[in-house]
Assembly symmetry: D2
Amino acid sequence: MKKIKVGILGATGMVGVEYVDFLINHPWFKISTLSGKKSVGRKYGEAVKALSNVPREVGDLEVIDPDPRKFDADLVFSSLPSEAAREVEREFIDHGFPVISEASAYRMEKDVPLIIPEVNPEHLELIRNQKKNSGGFIVTTPNCTAVGLVLSLKPVLEYYGIKKVVVATYQAITGAGFPGVPSYSILGNVIPYIKKEEEKVSEETKKILGRFNGSSIEYASFPVEASCARVPTIDGHLEAVYVETEREVHLDEAVEIFRRFRGEPQKLSLPTAPREPIIVTEIEDRPQPRLDVDAGSVPGMSIVVGRVRRGESNNVLKYFVLSHNRIRGAAGTAILTAELLTAKGYIG
Amino acid sequence: MKKIKVGILGATGMVGVEYVDFLINHPWFKISTLSGKKSVGRKYGEAVKALSNVPREVGDLEVIDPDPRKFDADLVFSSLPSEAAREVEREFIDHGFPVISEASAYRMEKDVPLIIPEVNPEHLELIRNQKKNSGGFIVTTPNCTAVGLVLSLKPVLEYYGIKKVVVATYQAITGAGFPGVPSYSILGNVIPYIKKEEEKVSEETKKILGRFNGSSIEYASFPVEASCARVPTIDGHLEAVYVETEREVHLDEAVEIFRRFRGEPQKLSLPTAPREPIIVTEIEDRPQPRLDVDAGSVPGMSIVVGRVRRGESNNVLKYFVLSHNRIRGAAGTAILTAELLTAKGYIG
Amino acid sequence: MKKIKVGILGATGMVGVEYVDFLINHPWFKISTLSGKKSVGRKYGEAVKALSNVPREVGDLEVIDPDPRKFDADLVFSSLPSEAAREVEREFIDHGFPVISEASAYRMEKDVPLIIPEVNPEHLELIRNQKKNSGGFIVTTPNCTAVGLVLSLKPVLEYYGIKKVVVATYQAITGAGFPGVPSYSILGNVIPYIKKEEEKVSEETKKILGRFNGSSIEYASFPVEASCARVPTIDGHLEAVYVETEREVHLDEAVEIFRRFRGEPQKLSLPTAPREPIIVTEIEDRPQPRLDVDAGSVPGMSIVVGRVRRGESNNVLKYFVLSHNRIRGAAGTAILTAELLTAKGYIG
Amino acid sequence: MKKIKVGILGATGMVGVEYVDFLINHPWFKISTLSGKKSVGRKYGEAVKALSNVPREVGDLEVIDPDPRKFDADLVFSSLPSEAAREVEREFIDHGFPVISEASAYRMEKDVPLIIPEVNPEHLELIRNQKKNSGGFIVTTPNCTAVGLVLSLKPVLEYYGIKKVVVATYQAITGAGFPGVPSYSILGNVIPYIKKEEEKVSEETKKILGRFNGSSIEYASFPVEASCARVPTIDGHLEAVYVETEREVHLDEAVEIFRRFRGEPQKLSLPTAPREPIIVTEIEDRPQPRLDVDAGSVPGMSIVVGRVRRGESNNVLKYFVLSHNRIRGAAGTAILTAELLTAKGYIG
């Protein structure tokens, strides 16, 4: 099989290098074009040497500017900052590229699927609404904090129904990119604010867990109340989750529904799909970002749930969930989405 | 006025040194006896040199073992670990000492007041139920995580009524004492578990916010759902609080009720009472442990509330609260309680 | 006595706020003008709220641009980055201002004194060589890493003579200003490189410890070999110092010469002079940045020397020295220099 | 080939789990017995769950006490604390076991080889002096800080000759084992003291770089002056090295001699030998512990040298060197030594 050529927008950032890590030995995809605003004209390996050791075959590629006419690609991943994304991604769509974006610019647009492949693959049908003459379209992936939350909520929603979610987060510094958070701000400290994050977690959760009625998404109607904070960890967003359910929760059963959860990527055996999307730890003080962020068969792609317990009411489930913000929360979910699109015939 | 002689049980620990800091220049109290299990016979200054630089007049005191017959004191503070506290504190009570303890051993006993001086001074009347022939009695202060939460909830309860509380914590390492948390466990990490902490936060909150009916405490009846985690900060427990209220919340008003809150210590101008028990910050990314833990007129005694906001419903109030775990959460509240007891004639 | 009006160039940075802290209650000086490139037109308090809580009388001052015609000041402190310093400081000198600068731009110029008030006050006579018709002149203070090293070497040089110095540093993140070092770069890490730092430490040390021969400075001739690294600490540069001496070292004596060292600021009882410029700790694992950075009678102005020991040869002295990089290493030494200039009649 | 059965003394500690990681898929060795003082009777996987996720085949082994009569092994690795090592290792030798120990107890004994396989394999002949009737013998590996230093000094010694070494260290917390350094002591801090470390670095360096004259080791005669400090990093000891050489240093040549250095393990293609024992980085701010500790073909087994530069004299070479303290500095070097012993016929 001939490999699909992929280009990356925003390839020189903290998440950009994660794409490259995943794609270097990918069985279906092959990196053809890398763009990045500040390093145009430099070799890619040189441009990201502070972040990653990139193998020569990719390190020698020249970084180009994000111009669709210069892209030799069947598919484009976008890891652009949101402001840049709005304009640049639009150009790529208009030039006929399938764009898979983790930027927030288009996530909440009516006809744009916001996808976690294990959770709402049926939302991909929205692509048809985009009706581009160009042949281009866009699929988005969620905010890095929403991914872990929503993936863990999916089986809870299916088995128990959800009436309310309250979540507090412990987010790693890489979530803010590079240079990101100044060391003076976070060393020995917690910053209880991340711009627009709480709104994104709430809104995106309701869209992703919404129902596709054949033509549009009917958002989930339960409240999602988030408090987001940055802590001095490198990778891995941890979240303390409180869920009020419609039906009574049984603990052993809850653990089982997490463990047994599988999605379409697992059924299709997509290359980047972890065997278990949700790993449950029973060690009493886990999951911990530094120790568990790479758990599972595809490091960074499984989320880890722990401390599963009931609240004071029988209809309250509480747990902590950890997800790798740069992989499952960004590059990994985008690539898994690309694999799903490929498997379903949207690409290639 | 002759100063009241105070002894300290567990004086050589991480919180013990905070007592000493506060008491060295105290207008009413004078340190007379210091005990500590592992350093018996050593000079106090030598025993705590890794934790604090203690002035000579206290540094030269010899550390003795916790034997009531050797204590020359009108009042005893206990900073003992819980297991030791149960037996040792009992002995001191039986020997006629008033004991103010931050240990958890007796907090939930029916006739033992669990006090935050600004919140429930009327609970001190429970002392009468202790009816000791010895003249000794015990008053306890809450878990370091409960203090900040409950102090911030008190005005919310008074103005809006409370139906439910969900809280997630970001707790500093000094909350675990010394040597406490190994560096390998917490550096660049979060530990989402602190033994028995969630239970304490829940139960103690309901007792402190309970109603004294003339003979006993009727616990508050709303659920308090806690998720407790340790983060790599030195001092200051931060908490993300979600409260469902009985009446509709108005934001400006909510900020005002926090700001205007005063308790009996402020009315009595107790020496260790901060002018404002609750400081509200309007800087969007505060309170932060490293920057705000010492805010206010008596460093470490005010709590700092920030990011006050409504939830998706009009009856939901959300905020972050920061309290100094070794001062307001331990030594400071115990000393303020001693001042209140003195002002009310229970001691001296 | 009427207070001397002082202006600050670069007032909104990490060190700028330290100047303000020191000057707010200064007996001789009064802040009149604050400038800072990015915050022109904003209130000072607002501009630095992420770094410091500034009292209202200074917080309400408007930040202006660094234009000498707008400065109402008898004396100007400069905390500018080096590139900006070269041009801006020149303008202020030309407009007749005495400038005390911690920037590196003019430090190594032939006629510019590079001063640590306790070490080389006689170098101030170089000011006469500056022969400005304008009346303006410049005095510089050393790199934050050189200050602690040189202050500790001074008594060693006087008593034992110095043949060689080898030093390795453990420098705090605030030495790089704000935003400075990205958290991703330094969290759980060490960066063994600080641009031009090793050269500065070497050259400045030789100039400051040089001999003023009546018209110019004859540099010290021993080698100073530095290895500079950044570590994840907030304040306090720690240095591992190895000195080969001309005469045999006796340990008890060496400790005494550190302890007894006093300079002109102590003799003149300048307001910001610490009683002991060099504090010697005998605790075996000190000095430590977090615990000792504020030691002494004027917090941040004393350096702390510890682990004083001999090497394998009798002519080798080894020790660790800690100095507060933002105070003794920057704002504090500049202010002490201003006090010395005032006491000697150069200013006011 | 039948695998050699190995037992581990001190298997449940921070370094113990590194042995297991390396040995699980080892082509020559097979774990047969695990002992550890505090966990006797528990399953190994359970005993170390806070430190490592161990595969089932080893995790199910029962931890036994360190009794030679219970050990089913052809070879014993010892990762015991020094006090315990003196007695326990002696017992194993007396029972006829070959013991490879990273404990300090016997390192400096006259007839005991202290080995870095790339540096002084000829010292293994000292084993003959041990003349045990039992057939048992002991070989030791160096202190974790000495390993990186000595490995980097070896080619310098060969090409330039060495007159003096001054080294300052930035040592990771795992060097102190688990629980090791309390988080309160090291978070945002540096501890400029590690018990007996400076003496070990000095003495061991001279022994390892000493000459085997056919019957004993003649120690190297140059001084080695160390200053050792702990910093808040997880893995990787970084060292700032200053070397005075006998012959003039040329920079490009110095880089080459590091790069070209190979030892007997490389010549013999031992399983755990990295292709390049010394990797030289030319990125200006490297090596960094968090980014480079696992560099090379066998993660943790190569040391990384950077910032290679001359001093003020032509006979001074300066550089930083990074080595993985738990692998090259402990388990890895012990295993590589075992492989060398096996290849040379001492074992099996």
